[in-house]
Symmetry: C2
Subunit: 327 residues, 2 copies
């Protein structure tokens, strides 16, 4: 990258996108007066080149994805964005243009989602690029939406559409396999993989009406299993009712086995939400009003076993590998 110092790099690319508490990124730490009457909601997701994204992905897209997967966690907890810190490990020899594009994407997304950069660290690495991001949000004291709150009888919903990102990854890995799918659909699936849409519009809806929430990062099947286990209940989940985009439907029509990929593949960053039957109607109405519909996919039932999954043909489905596991 030449002779640019860490300080110059920060001053040139990151200080312009920093928020007020960041002190111009010139101090050792950020300083933030927390809003009164709120809890802090804290989340941290790290992404590694070659694992969570491709090293050749556009750098602005890598930045957007790193921020958005953390925003997705805030949304699932019913939290509004407050600020974020970033650690960026740059491979030896990275181009200045790469960093510039990364910072541009990060800054645009930070502005769009109203979450200022507060601080961070930039280091070099002999290995692949890595982005580690800590996001801070706020929720009225005691009102974070927990993962553990599902009760027997609760209805279970998901936002948006499921499986696009997992199918987009397959398009990326083996485009020839999807030659029979219309190119507009392929592009949609790819873009859903590269650039998830954090459902922050649902945060106030969830904290008003949901008994539990989590974001789907490791696949619907695995994540709903986790949420139910954490809550000590079971469920009947109708995967046949999982919302699919037209693009996902086209891919699955071509190759029905991709339905399982869609249900287990991960990287959806949609929200999984539980609510009591009494609150279900207003939850769905408010979600629709917020522009992100929630679709009913199941019902929690008493019991500690894994959920029962009903597939597209009405028959039970079982999964050898319910979700993406890192080790």
């Amino acid at each position: 990258m030449g002779a640019i110092s860490e300080d110059d790099l920060i001053a040139r690319f990151f200080a312009p996108i920093a928020g007020p508490g960041a002190l111009g990124l010139k101090d050792d730490a950020a300083c933030l007066t927390p809003p009164p009457g709120c809890d802090l909601i804290l989340t941290k997701d790290a992404l590694v080149a070659g694992v969570h994204f491709f090293a050749a992905d556009p750098p602005d897209g890598i930045a957007r994805k790193a921020l958005r997967v953390n925003l997705s966690d805030l949304a699932a907890k019913g939290a509004d964005p407050l600020g974020f810190l970033l650690a960026l490990a740059l491979p030896v020899g990275v181009e200045t243009g790469w960093i510039e594009a990364f910072a541009r994407g990060l800054g645009e997304d930070a502005a769009r989602w109203g979450i200022p950069l507060l601080g961070g660290d930039t280091v070099k690495t002999p290995g692949p690029a890595m982005v580690s991001l800590t996001a801070l949000g706020t929720a009225p004291t005691g009102h974070m939406v927990p993962r553990t709150g599902v009760r027997a009888g609760d209805l279970i919903f998901v936002s948006g559409t499921i499986g696009d990102s997992a199918l987009g990854l397959q398009v990326r890995l083996a485009p020839e396999r999807f030659a029979a799918v219309a190119s507009g659909f392929r592009i949609l699936l790819l873009s859903r993989y590269l650039t998830p849409e954090p459902r922050l519009a649902l945060a106030p809806v969830l904290r008003a009406h949901a008994s539990a929430g989590m974001d789907i990062s490791d696949g619907l099947v695995g994540d709903v299993t986790k949420m139910l286990k954490a809550s000590g209940v079971s469920a009947i989940i109708r995967l046949c009712d999982a919302p699919l985009s037209d693009a996902a439907k086209a891919a699955i029509a071509m190759e029905p086995a991709l339905f399982e990929t869609a249900m287990t593949g991960g990287d959806d960053y949609e929200l999984l939400v539980a609510a009591s039957p009494q609150k279900a109607k207003v939850l769905q109405e408010d979600a629709r009003a917020a522009g992100v519909p929630l679709k009913l996919i199941g019902e929690a039932v008493a019991g500690a076993g894994p959920p029962r999954f009903i597939g597209a043909d009405g028959a039970d489905m079982t999964f050898a590998r319910g979700s993406f596991s890192h080790f």
Copy 2:
């Protein structure tokens, strides 16, 4: 590492050292009610194997260092520890025992310094291990100690001793070069490199009396230059008065050029503090009472140029490379 899942890894090694806000590390996010009347002080330092530590270093020591370098930033800002989040990138094939030892060191240090683990992320990497840590602290509202607060006439102090860590790194890299230094001294220098001592005891002293502060991570010469530049003043810095350990003195006596290494090498994690002449006496008294003496090394003067450094022989010193730079 075998078939351990990320969830099992977290439940087995990290959940036992998590604090109350961490929700057992079973949720997507941590939840913390910030103490009233306080600002949040936020800092993030990342460490990469092969850059900031040796891949073969003891894993518990790597964890301690990652936590302590962040605690050092909190101390410099006059902040008390509140909690931390951890992203850990583990190389493919890492042993379970490595993770266990890492978590043990982290847990011991978290308990010692009173800073609970709140959350984080564990990912695999095809590259070297990386630890990215975000530490949260608190200071009474408006009382964070800034880097930018040095005024002309302020006296400038450093805590502890300077250069041990930089010399310890040299011992690590070329032990034969230090054969003439007593083995007890070599061990001390090495341990100061591996395990910095965050000066949290000074946090309340700094916020009571200091006009500016920062921690010395990139070398005394470079960091004092940064603090003065950020404050818009210059200084006369008597490196001849910089506190040296007996071990550092022995190494420098053997090879006088190591004095420059000690002054510029970095990884000290001592505090650099400015205070008005009126507050200097009580600052030093309170620091001594807190068990971490502050030594006077210079005085800020009006002007925007780089500081004047006076060496051991009373002559001015200049430095080609004032501090460690990452790029």
